[in-house]
């Protein structure tokens, strides 16, 4: 996967994954390392706590359900000690009261299992970036120029007309250049859909298809790509 390093990342960000399922933690570690992070894994709350006390981490990925001390206990102890390392809570519980409990216990964000890896990476980047929220108003990928303020778009110097929804879609893809964006993320962020059961898949697919037609038709370098089963990505790539 092409990885565009953000300016705000100075050196490698170090993450701690506290997760008891080995298959999950192994995949997360490998995936996050391929995204340019360095990651350590703890399979119990105790080990996690020990590692947190002995090493410095930039972010903690914490599973709620752990053998021994559960994630919430660890989180509460951590916050009670004044540690302010960002914590992203991973959990299979998605009732409203669970979310509230998680956030009240000191989590900075909350991701319901099973989640898309792309969404996890996006959330991690957001949490790590909170310090420098300044975003340039004009973004460029290959010969695509997007002015986020005037909402105007050019490709190879020619103006491209987009509907408001298509523009929002493009702006969101631009905010995650080179990273896969899932349909769930688009539904939430571009369509402002608050629940996961509203059927929006084909709505999203159709809009992406339109955006692709407008941006890529007749161009040698394609920008909008579909990753089957995962989502969409905006990046330079010559397509056969």
């Amino acid at each position: 996967m092409v990885c565009s390093r953000e300016d705000s990342f100075v050196g490698t960000m170090r993450l701690l994954i506290v997760e008891d399922d080995e298959k999950t933690s192994g995949a997360l570690k490998a995936g996050l390392e391929s995204e340019g992070f360095s990651a350590a894994v703890a399979s119990t709350g105790e080990t996690g706590f020990f590692l947190l006390n002995s090493e410095k981490f930039d972010l903690l990925l914490l599973d709620w359900m752990l053998p021994g001390h559960d994630g919430i206990e660890i989180l509460k102890t951590l916050r009670a000690r004044g540690t302010n390392t960002p914590v992203l809570l991973l959990t299979a519980r998605d009732a409203v009261e669970d979310r509230v409990l998680g956030l009240e216990s000191g989590a900075d964000d909350y991701l319901v299992k099973p989640f898309a890896f792309a969404e996890l990476v996006a959330r991690i980047r957001t949490l790590l970036r909170r310090v420098t929220p300044v975003e340039p108003l004009r973004k460029t990928v290959a010969d695509l120029v997007v002015d986020l303020e005037t909402r105007r778009v050019w490709r190879s110097g020619k103006v491209i007309e987009l509907t408001p929804r298509e523009f929002d879609l493009l702006a969101y893809l631009l905010r995650h250049p080179g990273q896969v964006v899932t349909r769930e993320m688009l539904a939430k962020e571009v369509w402002a859909e608050t629940n996961r059961v509203t059927p929006l898949d084909n709505v999203i697919d159709v809009h992406v298809a339109h955006l692709r037609r407008k941006l890529d038709d007749g161009q040698a370098v394609k920008l909008v790509h579909t990753m089957r089963g995962v989502g969409f990505v905006l990046r330079e790539e010559a397509r056969a």
Partner: protein
């Protein structure tokens, strides 16, 4: 064991009370008799005999009371025994009501109603487990086949494609779980219901805006027919969820070029909101079952279109939760009308 002791104690108490009552009657009777001068004034030798008679009578009344108490509580004991046998799922399903008019009978009738509801939940649970395993088996079979076949090949492009296909199935299983949880856990605060008076047209417009492009892809037009000021009593999120599902179905199942109508009008004690298409229509034998979870009119087609089989169950759930009802009017070859009845705004 404590309970048994307490049951015994209650009987003893009843027996004691009955003995006391008996004695009071006896003493009262004696007093009346002596007052009337029927008996001789009690002198010394007779008082012992009198005491013995008194004790004997007390004992008899106690025994009588104990017997009565046992007799009176016997049906309760029987009910307990019957209920105990019922608590296993294999035994009889109802208590035989001896006399529906006395207290015990009432209790038994009440217990039977309770049992019936319980039995209903068991049946529902069995059906759910069967449905879910069936629904999960289909994508799992596909994933297994795709994975196994792809592994035989050394071609990375084929492997890549296989993983993509498996991820698609996984996505579908996740959607299935999300929707199923909504239906089974619907009563929790997962989805708070806040019905209030609102303009129906706004919701229709919103649905049409979201799905307009999807319809356009099939050269279909979404046509709204609804008065600007038509108001009904509804929860906007739930109504939107229902209409999104119905309209997507209409787009999916009606042929290219056919219009789809989103319309609403007032009726007697209700506001009618309809999603109508000029598609193939649905045969009458499906009308009753079509709102059931996982019921599919055309299994293969629905799956090929990416359907999970919960869309209409969610429509029914959403509409009923916001205080309305949903019905289907359809004729094969002419099209379908899904009609929602929403409570009107009353002042």
């Amino acid at each position: 064991m404590k309970a048994r002791w307490q049951q015994q104690a209650r009987r003893v108490w009843l027996a004691l009370l009955s003995a006391l009552a008996g004695d009071l009657i006896l003493v009262g009777g004696a007093a009346v008799a002596s007052g009337l001068g029927l008996g001789k004034p009690a002198d010394h030798p007779n008082s012992l005999a009198l005491l013995a008679v008194g004790l004997l009578v007390t004992g008899m009344f106690f025994a009588l009371g104990y017997g009565l108490a046992t007799l009176a509580l016997a049906p309760v004991r029987e009910t307990i025994e019957l209920t105990r046998r019922l608590s296993t799922r294999l035994g009889p399903k109802q208590i035989a009501v001896t006399n529906p008019h006395d207290e015990v009978g009432e209790l038994e009738t009440f217990l039977n109603e309770l049992l019936q509801r319980l039995e209903g939940s068991f049946v529902e649970l069995d059906r759910l487990a069967a449905d879910v395993s069936h629904e999960l088996r289909t994508p799992l079979t596909a994933m297994r086949a795709v994975g196994e076949v792809a592994l035989r090949d050394r071609n990375p492009a084929i492997l890549y494609d296989a993983v993509g296909s498996m991820l698609e199935e996984i996505r579908r299983m996740n959607q299935l779980i999300d929707r199923l949880l909504l239906l089974t856990r619907g009563d929790s605060d997962q989805w708070p219901v806040r019905p209030k008076p609102g303009l129906v047209r706004n919701v229709l417009m919103e649905v049409s805006e979201t799905l307009g492009l999807v319809a356009e892809e099939k050269q279909q037009q979404l046509q709204i027919d609804c008065a600007e000021d038509l108001r009904a009593f509804f929860d906007a999120a739930l109504l939107r969820l229902a209409l999104m599902n119905l309209t997507q179905n209409a787009i999916r199942y009606s042929p290219p070029g056919k219009p789809i109508y989103l319309r609403a009008r007032p009726a007697a004690r209700a506001v009618l909101v309809e999603v109508a298409d000029e598609g193939p229509g649905i045969a009458p034998n499906h009308h009753q079952k079509i709102f059931q979870r996982f019921y599919r009119v055309d299994d293969a087609r629905s799956r090929a279109e990416g359907g999970i089989g919960l869309g209409l169950a969610i429509v029914k759930w959403a509409v009923e939760r916001t205080g309305g009802t949903v019905e289907l009017e359809s004729e094969v070859g002419r099209g379908s009308i899904f009609r929602l009845r929403l409570p009107p705004v009353t002042r």
